[in-house]
């Protein structure tokens, strides 16, 4: 199983210029709406034509602008799950599933029967799409896609704009797909939780360009790029600057990073996860900074203690006071007086050095 994608496409002012490779498993394409995720899928499926580039699936060239190869969608063996499933309204569930099947009538019938049972659709085969619930429609679409024997499956925001309850209805179908399909899957989403649940590797996209490609654990624990960090939900960033002595420090603070840290030359800022700062000095401190105690809020049996760090330059520009919330057992807040100054520590493993 292998997929090699390298495409360029100009759409009005938007320029897509993307390249990635994928071996096996589920590869997520993560990015904000309008970053070119769907266009990439459409180009791979052959619904849209890239201006230039090359798409190779399992050693079959699907598209190559240099060699003037452009296989029609029918010959690509690429399944595409549309956002709203586009079941054919004039066909029953079973007819929909059989619509892309090859083989004799008896083979189709048997295959359809096993797909219906795989996707929990027994008893629904004679219903029309308008008579099916959202979850059933999704499962018919998945079964229909598998019936056409694709080598690669493209999932375009399969859970977009659905509330939690509906997502719960759709998850079984998706898990069944991963169980029944052995080829590669590309999963497009702007939702980090979905990517985390369903993908093995991720390509982070921004403005039509790939930012970085990494495995799912690394993305959530140690993203390297600023835009990846934003996409996994980190909101506080502090700008780094290089001091005269060659060490890196937080711009506008007098703090410098611990000397032994290997800071990449093009690191631009550090990302602060909620709860990254601690009150006790960890063994391997990356940086420390004095802060002012503001107050607390009670959370169950715990208290969140709020400290104000000095105004720092934000990555986006401008200065702002950074608030750090530190969790402690309830009652701990009585040890602090408003306005009191304490030193906060950031451990090495919690330090996120980001590049732009």
């Amino acid at each position: 199983m292998s997929l090699e994608v390298q495409i360029k496409k100009q759409l009005g002012r938007f320029a897509l210029d993307i390249a990635f490779e994928h071996e096996a498993g589920v590869l997520g394409l993560l990015g904000e709406s309008g970053c070119g995720k769907s266009i990439t899928l459409k180009c791979i499926a052959g619904i849209m034509q890239p201006d230039a580039g090359r798409i190779v699936l399992n050693d079959r060239v699907l598209f190559d602008s240099g060699q003037k190869i452009n296989l029609p969608p029918q010959a690509r063996k690429v399944g595409y799950l549309f956002q709203d499933y586009v079941l054919f309204p004039n066909m029953t569930a079973a007819e929909n599933i059989r619509s892309g099947m090859r083989g004799t009538r008896a083979e189709k019938k048997a295959r359809c029967k096993s797909l219906l049972s795989d996707f929990y659709l027994e008893g629904e085969e004679d219903k029309y799409p308008a008579q099916l619930s959202g979850g059933q429609k999704q499962r018919v679409a998945l079964a229909r896609m598998l019936a056409a024997d694709p080598e690669l499956i493209l999932l375009d925001e399969p859970f977009s704009a659905l509330d939690h309850f509906l997502k719960m209805q759709l998850s079984p179908g998706m898990h069944r797909l991963f169980e029944r399909f052995e080829g590669s899957i590309l999963y497009v989403s702007h939702n980090r939780e979905e990517i985390r649940e369903f993908c093995d590797d991720v390509v982070v996209l921004e403005n039509g360009r790939p930012v970085e490609q990494l495995d799912i654990q690394t993305l959530f624990s140690h993203p390297r790029q600023l835009s990846s960090a934003k996409l996994i939900g980190i909101t506080d960033f502090l700008r780094l600057e290089k001091r005269a002595d060659g060490r890196f420090g937080i711009a506008a603070w007098d703090t410098v990073l611990a000397e032994h840290l290997a800071v990449p030359e093009d690191a631009c800022c550090i990302g602060l996860r909620p709860g990254a700062f601690t009150l006790e000095k960890p063994q391997n401190t990356a940086l420390s900074q004095e802060a002012e105690y503001l107050g607390y809020r009670r959370k169950g049996r715990r208290s969140g203690l709020f400290f104000a760090l000095p105004a720092a330059e934000r990555e986006a520009g401008g200065k702002a006071v950074i608030q750090a919330e530190i969790e402690a057992p309830a009652g701990e807040e009585e040890k602090y007086k408003a306005g009191e100054r304490r030193r906060l520590y950031l451990a090495e493993e919690d330090l996120l050095l980001l590049e732009k």
Partner: protein, 242 residues
């Protein structure tokens, strides 16, 4: 009193064959225009022309095209087919004049169909011909049906082009519309009134039935299972489920 009912049968026969021809040609023309990019506006103008031209002008061109002096007319004549002053000529005249109505309805229907249906069918590996017959045609039925009814009604009422190409031969090419003309000329006011009323009733019925059918389509969801012999009560239940 009308003794000879031949104009009624001739009209129905001509309208039937003319709408059959426009259905096939109109759908083909609509597909062609939807697919091409370059000549789109040129073709659209060409196909719509018979709707805005005076029917006599259309008839005149058809007369030249199928006349004894044209290559096509001569070739057909050698094959023993005579279009001018024949029922075949009346069918051709009616079909040409009604064609734009069918073409425009079909084009509208094709353009309204969500292109994702076609894209999806392609990714499923369906052949283009299968996509056309199993996906495009069934899901554009309301639009195509209205095109057929409109062209049937238009063919029934065709006068100008028919007179020029097929003439006004009682028992052969005299349709109801032509019968009204002859009756008025011969001062048979009563006969003119009767034929006129029959035309009004038939045309009105056609449009009325079409509207009723369309309303049934749109009553729920244009492309819902209701169209395809599904049980209505079951469907509304399924829709209530989240």
């Amino acid at each position: 009193m009308i003794n000879d009912f031949s104009p009624l049968w001739i009209s129905l026969k001509i309208a039937f064959f003319a709408s059959l021809i426009t259905l096939v040609l109109g759908v083909a023309a609509a597909r062609l225009v939807c697919k091409t990019e370059k000549a789109k506006h040129f073709l659209d103008g060409l196909f719509t022309l018979p709707m805005v031209l005076p029917p006599t002008v259309t008839g005149f061109f058809l007369l030249i095209l199928f006349g004894k002096n044209s290559p096509l007319g001569r070739a057909l004549g050698k094959a023993g087919i005579n279009v001018v002053f024949s029922a075949a000529g009346a069918v051709i005249a009616a079909a040409v004049v009604a064609f734009p109505l069918m073409y425009r309805s079909a084009r509208g229907a094709f353009e309204q169909l969500d292109p994702d249906y076609i894209a999806c069918a392609r990714t499923l590996g369906m052949k283009e011909s299968k996509i056309f017959f199993r996906v495009i045609l069934p899901n554009t039925r309301p639009g195509l049906l209205s095109g057929v009814v409109l062209s049937f009604a238009r063919s029934m009422g065709e006068f100008g082009a028919t007179t020029l190409l097929a003439g006004n031969i009682p028992g052969r090419t005299q349709t109801m519309a032509l019968a009204v003309y002859s009756a008025v000329q011969n001062n048979h006011k009563e006969a003119a009134m009767r034929w006129s009323l029959i035309i009004v009733v038939i045309s009105f019925l056609a449009i009325f039935l079409m509207n009723r059918t369309m309303k049934r389509y749109q009553g729920t969801e244009v492309f819902s299972g209701a169209l395809f012999r599904a049980d209505k009560s079951k469907r509304s239940k399924a829709e209530e489920e989240p």
